[in-house]
Amino acid sequence: MFKKPVSSSGKTKIKSSVQRNIRQKICEQFPLLEPVIDDVLPKKAQLDLIKAPEKISLYALDNQVLFFQHHNDAIMPHLRVVHKYPQCFPTVQVDRGAIRFILGGAQLMCPGLTSPGAKLPPPEGNLPEGTVVAINAEGKEHACMIGVLKMSTEDIKKLNKGNGVENCHYLGDGLWKMDSE
């Protein structure tokens, strides 16, 4: 999504009613985040909307992007948020060999999620298709990618072939660099 540097066309303030909506949506999507939502998105804070090309909206607080969204799809957290609150997002883990491809912006293939170094949630914790997940890496403490599951985690285990997670935001991509500048 952000392979190229993000060129934003100005930012606007978000109405508080819209802001409430976003907040609620985030809580619905990431129930684990609810206890800390006040720290991530203080109620009184003024969110900014930054419009990026291809119908991507970035939600920023104090010039730092916290969440982003494509059109009306699921809201996704910025990696910095995930680094701060790693337990608040559903997570899968890839093996070490996949890291360099992820940091190059590749889609995540199933074998990288099923090999010995990788970790998927147990059957009872099955994540359905379309879930926004943080991708951790073998031997690493922090997440390196945000993606959307292309198939449920159980299907990944079963099929073990093809594109498992869509790469939406990874360390060192345009969105990441936009912030750190």
């Binding site: 360099r100 940091l103 031997g139 922090h142």
Partner: protein
């Protein structure tokens, strides 16, 4: 030797404990590499590994020890097959070389590129100052134009020139002031700035 490795182990244990406590509300403080901006543990996949390790060593020596002690290096090879490892290493080396070349080229380009400050006559005894070429120094036209406007209290805007590029048009004869500002505030060498004058009736007047 053994004492050292056990110390590293203890530090890692402490880190793990801290991660467990992170389950409560408190956000985790994450250190980001000052060179490549990624969390330090991912520096090894970037193209500036050498610089990153140096930076980490001087800024966060403890983290550096955790990540780059020989024990850590060994354990992280983990489950990857030998073949895949070799391939990864080869790719990485190639990438690093590319990055180095790119940086060299950029530095050379920076050295050779010039900012042109042009004084253009509008009507008799009235001038605008046109600044072009600042993109080579990683400056953004729009923001710099705004700064100029604020600093000199005059109209300052980004315009498109005939070649399709952008330039800043500042109202008023400000070429000397702008030169000074570029040197002082944006740290550009004076050798890289050229002042030019352009009269409306070129040749015809003289």
């Amino acid at each position: 030797m053994e004492a050292e490795s056990s110390a590293a182990g203890a530090a890692a244990g402490a880190a793990a404990a801290a991660a467990d406590e992170g389950f409560t509300v408190a956000p985790l403080e994450v250190v980001y590499c000052g060179v490549c901006s990624l969390p330090p543990e991912y520096c090894e996949f970037g193209a500036t590994v050498k610089k990153c390790t140096d930076w980490l060593e001087s800024n966060h020596p403890r983290l550096h020890q955790n990540l780059y002690s020989s024990e850590a290096l060994e354990s992280k090879m983990g489950t990857m097959s030998l073949e895949a490892q070799q391939k990864a290493e080869k790719d990485l080396a190639k990438k690093q070389q590319k990055e180095e070349l790119r940086q060299e080229r950029e530095a050379a380009k920076k050295k050779s590129s010039v900012i042109i400050i042009k004084r253009v006559e509008r009507t008799k005894r009235k001038y605008v100052t046109v600044v072009s070429g600042i993109e080579a120094f990683e400056l953004v036209y729009k923001t710099v134009a705004k700064e100029f406007g604020k600093k000199f209290a005059c109209g300052s805007s980004v315009t498109k020139n005939a070649a399709g590029g952008e330039e800043i048009t500042v109202q008023g004869d400000l070429s000397d002031e702008i030169l000074e500002e570029l040197v002082d505030k944006y740290g550009i060498e004076e050798d890289n700035i050229r002042q030019v004058e352009e009269s409306k009736k070129k040749g015809g007047g003289g």
